[in-house]
Symmetry: C2
Subunit: 344 residues, 2 copies
DNA sequence: CTGAAAGCGCTTACAG
DNA sequence: CTGAAAGCGCTTACAG
């Protein structure tokens, strides 16, 4: 029977003091078993653990944070215009994977979205005030001041994707963009195609630059002509892909393959190709990049390059926790994998 | 010059004590201007504010939380199997809108995803230990024990969508499912269709139940025959919609309209219709529900019922903050809107 | 290995 | 309106 009459939290949760009394030890001893159990006798540890489970004790993080100066939480900071977050399933996948990886360490993820300059300032201020121990940063474009500001403030930071212009100063985890693009173009070549066009990402993003480099490298290796009309620049959006495909259709009507630097753009490109009555893959082969949910939404399903999102997330978390623990900045490049479906 | 030699945070951030010294007042006075400014003279307030901006002081939330017993943060708890979160853009939209609404109140959102029973237990324990002030709950299926557990623990809670079996005990915000479905079916009728089928959501979800009810009501009003073969049950996934459409095609080949209880399922249904060589909207009209990004990914684009996600989010936040402040549970039903595009 | 004590940075009655 | 003081729940040297 609830006798304290409150509608809110039932009773005050037990404190370390309650546990100490139950276990017949001092609060210091309880704290020691809580924090690794060093310098604690087996007997003491045992009775403390029994007392903890009897009382249902859970540490008060605020008290702990006040003294340790750490928050035991991490921010997932997205500095992208809101449309992209809505549209691109990659964010979804990465966010979920990071949440899960952190949960494995019992660390909550604070989601922060800086879609505007004002929001970015507010959030940067919040973070540099020490409310989180570190930041997982997701923003592909160059010229984003968040990375610099946070780094200058000494905030542990790991970016997703190589932060252009900050290499060596900011830790990051990325898929091997160049290698993945290269593999796809070789795959298109192996399927017999000889007029291979590409739709790139924005050329101020690592995915834009490096996937184009992989495309060019494969062309050079195979001895295909590097016709600049075969290259159209996209913006990672579906309609951007659609428009870029239309431009290519007009400029190089004889193209027989198309490597698109993201699945979402590939989805748009497929729409344009269909409208132009090009059959895929009979008349033109199409290869994407990401293996995002968008790759399964097309007809036929998209042949693409898989980015290992789960590993990207877990490596980001690993690097961040290491950095919080004092480790230096570093970078991890993860291999990609070609996923063969219906468009090549 | 950085003389403290640390690689981490530059210097110790200023405390309330520093501000008090700068302003020439006591720490209590600083705290009072921080907390609403009651019982503070204009002069004192002014010098405190000047000192705050001079020192760049930001309150230490852990110290504050330790004493107030509040965390000044809110959890966004998703108890859905991971596939749905990946696939359904609605989660994306709602999550972002909630993050934004909370940011307006300067409250960080903790993202928690309970895909498994073990995760649910861990998260429930964390939440009931008082690490967040309240919970925004997203889980449509009945039989989810999270809502009951949190409510029993006295945790302020607002669900997205009517929590079946908990009505009246759990606050919630929802779109008017029945009304929206009704409008769409009337719209299909108005376009001249007379054999109107439907693909429902799971019948243990409010969207499954209420949208079907709206469909039936519209059929009754228009005097159309309520043929049970016109009703197929889906599961809110794309392939689920595809399979349901195939079943309908086989059972009622003469159907000339299809109301699908989610855009994602409608996307799948469109695939099935196309394979069956039914032209949309010429041979068969299709109406969706949600106005999610999926509605723009189809050809032609999907005529659908818009759920007002921004308002849903802001109402959820408003209700939750009220409840944290001591208000009673309550429910908000928001109107929907028909968005006419290419499939009707 | 263990206890007693100081102190993290704040808020909040309590006197004035 | 304002200051001095207690105390939130924990961790961590410091003695033993």
């Amino acid at each position: 029977m609830n006798t304290n009459g409150g509608r809110r939290r039932a009773a005050k949760p037990p404190t370390i003091h309650d546990v100490a009394r139950e276990a017949g030890v001092s609060r210091g001893t309880v704290s020691r078993v809580l924090n690794g159990g060093h310098y604690v006798s087996p007997a003491a540890r045992e009775s403390v653990e029994a007392a903890i489970s009897r009382t249902g004790y859970v540490v008060n993080r605020h008290a702990r944070s006040l003294i340790t100066g750490r928050s035991d939480s991490v921010a997932f900071l997205l500095t992208e215009p809101q449309e992209r977050f809505f549209e691109d399933p990659n964010f979804n996948v990465l966010l979920r994977a990071c949440t899960q990886s952190l949960a494995d360490h019992d660390i909550p993820l604070l989601l922060m979205i800086a879609g505007t300059e004002a929001e970015r300032r507010r959030i940067t201020r919040y973070i540099t005030a020490g409310h989180v121990d570190g930041v997982l940063l997701v923003s592909s474009h160059t010229g984003d001041p968040a990375a610099d500001q946070l780094r200058d403030a000494g905030v542990p930071l790991v970016a997703c994707g190589k932060p252009i212009g900050h290499t060596g100063k900011v830790s990051y985890v990325a898929a091997d963009d160049r290698d993945g693009a290269h593999d796809m173009v070789r795959h298109l070549y192996a399927s017999g195609r000889r007029r291979i066009a590409t739709i790139t990402g924005p050329l101020d993003t690592p995915g834009g630059i490096d996937r184009l480099a992989g495309y060019r490298q494969a062309l050079a290796e195979t001895g295909l002509e590097a016709d600049e009309r075969l290259v159209a620049t996209g913006d990672y959006t579906r309609v951007g892909g659609e428009h870029a495909a239309e431009r290519l259709l007009a400029a190089v009507p004889d193209m027989d393959a198309l490597f698109v630097a993201s699945d979402l753009m590939a989805q748009g490109a497929l729409t344009a190709l269909k409208r132009a009555n090009r059959r895929v893959p009979e008349d033109i082969a199409v290869g994407g990049f990401d293996d995002s949910p968008a790759a399964l939404a097309t007809t036929p399903e998209l042949t693409t390059i898989r980015q290992p999102w789960d590993r990207i997330a877990s490596e980001m978390v690993r690097l961040l926790l290491a950095q919080i623990g004092g480790a230096d900045t570093s970078a991890v490049i993860l291999p990609t994998e070609l996923v063969s479906r219906g468009t090549v």
